[in-house]
């Protein structure tokens, strides 16, 4: 509908803006505290400091060693990107079969995947931890990637299946008739069409994995491959009062995500729209 920008729209916009500002106040605190010199921490928490201590970021960066913050960031990046890549690859193929071979078996599998989303992950932690320790792989990147791929496979397959079911079969069938094999058909024809939902899957799972604290604490806590949330946690343990340094680390950990999100927000809405209708 092509409606004019009336005063009603303006009022709506203003309301939304005020709400958004209030909503983001904690983020203002995050930034403002991260820039405060030590002596100003609790004196005027609402005021933006007059002498921003950019050195806080440097101090925070250097505060930890074995592993350093830089190493933790790297660990987080490797684990997140590796997990997302395998999830997308394995999950989309699996969903493709479930969507294209309707029947009792795929119905049962689909049900299991949905159940896998619902059954809390906490239930799996103990045996997995025991198994990983028994195999002596706790703390390795590969074990974390395998863990995450298993944890998020249900959500991934669920989202992909919903979206794949809506895709017309014509393209892939014509590719198959033209003589393309199953892999060529999938990666050249189907996978590109799945792009919106791939975006959703990557964002959702990547976000959870990057930010996860619970499983990371258990599986890589105390090892050299601690991820960034675990690093932040130990930070608070050691320097409970130095909020400015804690918040500086939080911002360091947040920056890669914010940049990513600003770029990918629209994609996410579109992908969800597909998932919901599916």
């Amino acid at each position: 509908m092509n409606t004019r920008y009336t005063w009603k729209t303006f009022a709506r916009e203003l309301t939304a803006l005020i709400l958004a500002v209030v909503f983001c106040l904690p983020l203002y605190i995050l930034v403002s505290v991260a820039l405060k010199p030590n002596n100003e921490l609790f004196t005027k928490p609402w005021e933006f400091t007059s002498s921003p201590a950019f050195g806080n970021f440097g101090d925070a960066w250097n505060e930890r060693s074995d592993p350093s913050i830089g190493h933790s960031l790297l660990s987080s990046a490797i684990i997140t990107l590796g997990s997302v890549a395998f999830l997308v690859l394995i999950g989309s193929l699996c969903a493709y079969v479930i969507a294209r071979r309707p029947g009792k078996l795929s119905g049962l599998l689909y049900f299991l995947f949905v159940l896998g989303i619902i059954v809390p992950f906490q239930l799996c932690i103990v045996p997995l931890y025991a198994a990983f320790r028994w195999m002596g792989v706790t703390g390795s990147y590969l074990s974390m990637i395998i863990l995450w791929v298993g944890v998020f496979m249900p959500l991934t397959v669920f989202l992909y299946t919903g979206f794949t079911r809506q895709l017309p079969r014509d393209y892939e069938e014509s590719a198959r008739v033209d003589g393309a094999g199953i892999f060529r058909t999938f990666f050249r024809v189907v996978f590109p069409l799945l792009r919106p939902v791939t975006g959703t899957v990557a964002i959702m799972t990547g976000l959870f994995i990057w930010n996860d604290f619970f499983a990371s604490l258990i599986f890589v806590g105390g090892t050299n491959n601690e991820t960034i949330p675990v690093a932040i946690y130990s930070f608070v343990g050691e320097y409970l009062t130095k909020w400015n340094l804690v918040f500086a680390v939080v911002i360091i950990a947040l920056l890669p995500l914010v940049i990513f999100f600003v770029l990918a927000q629209k994609q996410m809405i579109r992908g969800f729209a597909g998932g919901i209708r599916g």
Binding site: M1, N2, T3, R4
Partner: protein
Amino acid sequence: MVFVGPSGCGKTTALRMVAGLEDITEGTIRVGDKIVNGIDPGERDMAMVFQNYALYPHMSIFENIAFPLRARHTSKSEVRSRVERTAALLGLTEYLKRKPRTLSGGQRQRVAMGRAIVREPQAFLMDEPLSNLDAKLRVQMRSEISNLQRDLGVTTIYVTHDQVEAMTMGTRIAIMRKGVLQQQGPPQQVYAEPANIFVAAFIGSPGMNFLQATLGRDESGFELRLPGQTLRLSDAVVSARPALAAYVDRELAMGIRPESLALGPTGGPSLRATVSRIEVLGAESLIYVTLAGQAVVSDEMIEAAVDVDATAASTLKQEAEQCQVTLIVRSEPDTDVRVGDQVNITPIQHRLHLFDLESGAAVTS
């Protein structure tokens, strides 16, 4: 009233303005003698039928038809009786409990009509209501809607890009192009006396034939000069168009409908041409004849051609480059001409149309 024009000509926007779904930048819209600018769509007492029907997918057919009544807080018993009456009128009684998605295209179309009728509004607005139906159903619904409209006697504004629909359904039709009204009037008048070259080209199927010609004048009267031949204009044609004198030695566009061309020597001035294609349609045949000449290629012509089909416009341009014009002659089915024959074609002079090449306007008074 039917609005007709190629896609993107602004007819839907015009309709939506009447409905109140789009804001009007200037001017006023009146219903009776009430100005309705700035009044909410729901308060205008007009019902609308949408192109994709816009049925509420989660409601039963009954609820769909009842919705506008419920929006007006009509009492329950009245809602029931009015919905049932409407459903009976449209033959939907047995489907009232079903959901829209279980219905066929024609049935959904009727539900959309029902939702409009049940309100007993001052006006119906219909936005290409038949464009999503298959050809057979479209013809059937066309007459159903016409009958319904006549029975109910309610003013209806009907938007379509299909000129056959416009001609058969409208008591008056309005042809639009690029947001500008080109001509309005009863279908027959628009067909017989198009105000400009766009209307002439757009209305009619197969469309009017056009060719470019230079107007010549000698002691015995006016003639149209084509490469290699001339066509003398009858005195009646000339005297009906006083403005013609100003076009002497200038080029103008001549238009003639396929049924106004006769094959063979019938007396009267004729043109020589070669038969290039014959389409036998059963009740009649379409004879395509080619002659040397300049096709009329203007924006209006291309737009009207594109509306027929996408290749028509490129054919037009190609002909223009080759200095050839193809005319279509509507003839009796038992004609014995063959492809390649040389034939004489005789225009019925009083059905000849002449247009200014620059403005596209018909040359009349």
